[in-house]
């Protein structure tokens, strides 16, 4: 079953008054994402992949084309209808620190969806309990709840973003280079966590990255984007198995004393 269907989506920007020039950031893109599936979107910087992600959540208005989410064409929804739909679709941005409110403690940030009543009425103690549950799910410690974003590392802040998204409990997530600003070992931690969350919460995802190796790990299918168009959509199952089996360095030649 298809959760997202995109038909001939376009986003053109114009500049100049007399000599109008058009930039075709997204120029006729069509694809679909099945429920529970992750579609990877790869391309070089400037190819329009981030614009596609933003269009899908209607953070920007398309020039033309349709976006069908769960049977509804969301390009036709008005502001109020769109606002009601927003909790079902969420975005993870590249820089976690700037996506969190710097003046809110981590716990408050995670509890905000509860305070807004997105999960129904909740008592203060119930909220606290749910926040601590989520903090545990994303691998943070209870002590982090009282800290501010600037007191945490990039990887920890991205965990907070994930906890907050789980509090909203969306069906669809657009992840735009979620580990671009993180170190390799932290990147591995966050991507592993995202894979687990996707499995446990049955999330559907559009995973945007310029790193083919990363996309291979995260995606069921991969769309290749070039200059505003999707040039190819590949099935990843065979590619992924190969990557998992690839040899792991570190034969520990000198490490004869390792306890078995």
């Amino acid at each position: 079953m298809r959760l997202i269907e995109v038909h001939d989506l376009k986003k053109h920007y114009s500049s100049g008054l007399i000599n109008k020039q058009y930039t075709r950031a997204v120029d006729g893109v069509s694809f679909h994402i099945k429920r529970g599936e992750t579609l990877g979107l790869v391309g070089e910087s400037g190819c329009g992949k981030t614009t596609v992600g933003r269009l899908l959540l209607r953070l920007i208005e398309p020039t033309s084309g349709s976006i069908i989410f769960d049977g509804m064409d969301i390009t036709r929804l008005n502001r109020e209808e769109m606002r009601k739909l927003r909790p079902r679709m969420q975005m993870i941005f590249q820089d976690p620190e700037s996506s969190l409110n710097p003046r809110m403690r981590i716990g408050e940030s995670i509890a905000e969806p509860f305070r807004l009543g997105l999960q129904g009425k909740m008592s203060r103690s119930e909220m606290k309990e749910r926040v601590l549950e989520l903090v545990d799910v994303v691998g943070l410690n209870p002590e982090h709840v009282n800290r501010f974003p600037h007191q945490l590392s990039g990887g920890q802040n991205q965990r907070v973003v994930l906890a907050r998204i789980l509090a909203i409990n969306p069906e669809f997530i657009v992840a735009d280079e979620p580990t671009a600003s993180l170190d390799v070992s932290v990147q591995a931690q966050i991507l592993r966590l995202m894979m687990d969350l996707k499995r446990d919460f049955g999330l559907t995802m559009l995973f945007i990255s310029h790193d083919m190796d990363v996309v291979r790990h995260m995606s069921d299918r991969i769309a290749i984007m070039e200059k505003g168009r999707i040039t190819d959509i590949l099935d990843n199952s065979s590619l992924c198995q190969k990557a998992e089996k690839s040899s792991i360095p570190g034969k520990l030649k000198y490490a004869s004393r390792i306890p078995a």
């Binding site: 070089e44 910087s45 400037g46 590392s153 990039g154 990887g155 920890q156 671009a180 170190d183 390799v184 070992s185 932290v186 990147q187 591995a188 931690q189 991507l191 592993r192 310029h210 790193d211 083919m212 190796d213 990363v214 291979r216 790990h217 990557a243 998992e244 690839s246 792991i248 360095p249 570190g250 034969k251 520990l252 030649k253 000198y254 490490a255 004393r257 390792i258 306890p259």
Partner: protein, 315 residues
């Protein structure tokens, strides 16, 4: 003791910063040699002290930094030079390609003029000659239409082009030693490959320190690699050995966490530099940690010719 074939020798370098919470020991007792014509990659994650190490060499740290030890360049200890003596060396003989070209370039100066400034300052050329040399440098870093680009401002150039300008500026005075700090940061796959190839070609026959967390880039450019963690070197050796046969558990974990190597994360997070773990600094995250690792601080052990590792499991 000065090694005759070492272009730069760092002996027991300790760099720390006072902070509200205590002394931040960013570089802790690092010994490192870079030979003539050798390109050394300094690998490590954010906050491990690798940039501070580079800045200690070229002496561009804030005045609050406390730097101890020796950095021998050409028979002189850089740390004993006066500010004036250091200023004559900096940019001319020892140059740095700073990270983040977007913030490192002057936004209100044309890129050609920024490069010409380096040339006229260090080689005493007139304005016109310096500008012509700057254009030549831009051509050397494969910037198309170099003459036109020289008259543009940084914001008019793409990230890859700005990185090329940084490289041109760093190499403009023909320095004998170059430090490059994260030259591939924030570039997409194709641009990264181009920049890596450019650095490799432009710096062959030069002595260089490349600071990066990009192991693939270091593998392409460097003759040797040193791995830094929490202010210390944990492993050092020829590039081939470090990439294909790493001996320190941290180096192994680092490589295994690469997407291409299976995306296996190292558990836990980097330790504090104010109050680092006892014994081996990696022991809280090490899958092989033993009792001794918690109690005693391991020394660098030599394994093979030029390959050493700071681990009780090695040697």
């Amino acid at each position: 003791m000065v090694y005759s074939n070492a272009m730069l020798e760092i002996i027991d370098l300790r760099t720390c910063f006072p902070s509200q919470d205590g002394l931040v020991k960013a570089v802790n007792s690092v010994d490192l040699q870079i030979k003539d014509n050798e390109r050394l990659g300094l690998i490590g994650e954010t906050g491990c002290g690798k940039t501070v190490l580079g800045m200690s060499i070229i002496r561009l740290l804030p005045s609050s930094a406390r730097v101890e030890g020796q950095i021998i360049y050409n028979g002189h200890d850089l740390l004993r030079l006066t500010g004036e003596e250091m200023r004559k060396l900096r940019g001319k003989e020892i140059a740095m390609i700073l990270q983040n070209p977007t913030t490192s370039l002057n936004p209100v100066l044309k890129v050609g003029d920024q490069i010409a400034e380096v040339i006229s300052l260090h080689r005493g050329l007139g304005k016109k000659e310096a500008k012509a040399r700057a254009v030549q440098m831009l051509e050397a870093v494969m910037i198309p239409e170099a003459e036109r680009k020289a008259d543009q401002y940084p914001h008019e150039l793409s990230g890859g082009m700005k990185e090329r300008v940084m490289i041109a500026m760093g190499l403009a005075s023909h320095p004998s030693f170059v430090i490059a700090d994260e030259p591939t940061k924030g570039l997409d796959a194709r641009t990264k490959t181009e920049i890596v190839n450019l650095i490799r070609d432009m710096t062959s026959g030069r002595s260089m320190l490349i600071i990066t967390h990009d192991l693939a880039a270091a593998g392409e450019i460097c003759d040797r690699i040193a791995v830094m963690y929490a202010g210390e070197l944990l492993e050092e050796g020829p590039t081939e050995m470090i990439l294909n046969d790493p001996q320190h558990p941290y180096t192994q974990g680092f490589i295994r966490s690469l997407p291409r190597q299976g995306l296996h994360p190292i558990s836990g997070s980097s330790p504090s530099l104010i109050d680092p773990p006892s014994g081996c600094r990696f022991h809280p995250r090490c899958p092989y940690a033993m009792d001794i690792c918690k109690k005693e601080h391991p020394q660098m052990v030599r394994l093979d010719e030029g390959h050493s590792s700071r681990c009780y499991l090695c040697g």
